[in-house]
């Protein structure tokens, strides 16, 4: 350990393959908690390692299934993560991907406050990210850089809207930078096989603009969308978990940008 201290973000590949031992892994996971783009990069690399796993497929001995089913029959399941779940418990699985954006009790009864706080949460997150290292995901703008760019743009515009099925959305946008940051609070929970998907819309031509991760403490996002065009509107739909190339359900939010 020690003779050589790696830059955390260069470890994404090693981390995705569990090639980090004890202290290295712990350090990288601390880094992941405040590095949105590293989290995104690791998620992408895990899609690749899943294919390595599929390539290694080997049938397990048949009796394994029976003894496993007997064991799960007497094993209690973890409850879903809710706003009341402490972070230490909420965090599960190798990636430990829950992120603290802030805790806002009472937002249900105060939607206006929630919108304001959502903005504050994004700002707070930016402050944290500013200290983090930017590692680029090919094809996607690094989130912290994008958020900072939007928030410091002279033409920063903030738009809020109410989501038809519940919850409020906040968009921070810079036309000059052709970029926006989306966050939402209090969105209705979806079944596990569905996700909220964002759209940039022109008449007859809707472009997918990203999937919202499951809410943490009632907050979803932030998601960055770049490549804004004049006349774009922002839409939100519910789609199958893998995302859709085109909206397949009714818009539950439409914002004129």
């Amino acid at each position: 350990m020690s003779e050589w201290e790696p830059e955390p973000h260069t470890l994404a590949g090693a981390y995705a393959m569990d090639a980090l031992d004890g202290p290295d892994r712990a350090r990288f996971e601390r880094h992941l908690e405040r590095c949105e783009e590293c989290t995104r990069e690791v998620a992408g690399l895990h899609e690749a390692t899943a294919r390595l796993a599929a390539a290694a497929a080997a049938r397990p001995p048949a009796p394994l299934k029976d003894s496993l089913l007997a064991e799960t029959a007497r094993t209690r399941q973890l409850p879903p993560v809710t706003r009341g779940t402490p972070q230490a418990i909420a965090r599960t699985g190798p990636a430990g991907r829950e992120r603290r954006l802030g805790r806002f009790p009472g937002w249900v009864r105060a939607p206006r406050l929630a919108v304001a706080l959502a903005g504050v949460a994004v700002l707070a997150a930016v402050a944290v990210w500013a200290g983090g290292t930017v590692g680029r995901v090919p094809g996607q703008p690094p989130v912290s850089h994008a958020v900072a760019t939007v928030l410091t743009a002279p033409d920063l515009t903030v738009i809020t809207g109410r989501v038809r099925t519940g919850g409020t959305a906040t968009v921070m946008m810079s036309r000059r930078e052709r970029m926006l940051v989306f966050a939402a609070a209090g969105l209705r929970a979806l079944p596990g096989s569905r996700c909220y998907e964002l759209w940039l819309m022109q008449p007859g031509r809707d472009r997918p603009a990203g999937l919202l991760p499951m809410p943490s403490h009632g907050m979803s996002g932030p998601v960055v969308a770049s490549g804004l065009r004049a006349g774009d509107r922002l839409g939100l739909t519910v789609e199958p978990a893998t995302g859709s190339p085109r909206p397949t359900t009714a818009m539950i939010l439409v914002l004129t940008l």
């Binding site: 393959m17 090639a19 599929a54 893998t242």
Partner: protein, 192 residues
């Protein structure tokens, strides 16, 4: 074991698996059995490639699936594919087990193992389409990238151990692992 493991890469398979996991989260045992049928081969194959010992591999595989059962409600389909979620749990479990065994018994039985692991792995399931694509995409990497990726993933070595095995600096191994995985991801069209 009904469906062939190669289905894991088929379009639509991920959405089905995500829907099954959502059922599992609600305590549906039949859905869990279906998830097992779908991913047991990749899970067992991955675990065995790292752990090597057959009975220990079965034990770890069972632990992996108990974890899938317990934590199904924590799976977020909007962040990644269900196969990636399961495979990540499996690989992490296998590696952690091997490393804790390593610590308790100074063992060296795996010394030569990873060097044969990849070829070995290739023999395991017939008609595996994923295997062909992965083999092709691994072939497109530089030698150092490919060795670093296969030693780490199939061999379960840390990057420092890989650096020692390959006789290159740890920092070099790190960047090769990351670059190799990124190229692999792009070659496999594995991003969502």
């Amino acid at each position: 074991m009904s469906p062939s493991p190669s289905r894991s890469g088929a379009p639509g398979a991920g959405a089905d698996l995500a829907a099954l996991l959502a059922q599992v989260a609600k305590g549906d045992h039949a859905a869990f059995a279906a998830v097992y049928d779908r991913v047991a081969a990749p899970v067992f194959g991955t675990v065995r490639s790292v752990v090597r010992d057959p009975s220990l591999s079965e034990e770890v595989t069972q632990e992996v699936f108990v974890e899938v059962w317990r934590a199904a409600s924590r799976f977020d389909a909007c962040k990644g594919s269900p196969m990636a979620w399961v495979a990540t749990i499996a690989h992490r479990r296998a590696v952690d087990r091997v490393r804790s065994e390593q610590r308790s018994a100074a063992r060296d039985r795996r010394t030569a193992a990873p060097l044969i692991a990849y070829d070995d792995v290739a023999e395991t399931v017939a008609d595996n389409l994923d295997r062909e694509r992965v083999r092709r995409c691994l072939g497109a990497l530089t030698d150092l990238q490919r060795e670093a990726v296969t030693l780490a993933y199939y061999g379960g070595y840390t990057y420092r151990e890989v650096a020692g095995l390959l006789g290159v600096p740890a920092g070099t191994v790190n960047t090769r692992m990351r670059d190799g995985l990124i190229r692999l991801r792009d070659c496999l069209g594995a991003s969502r």
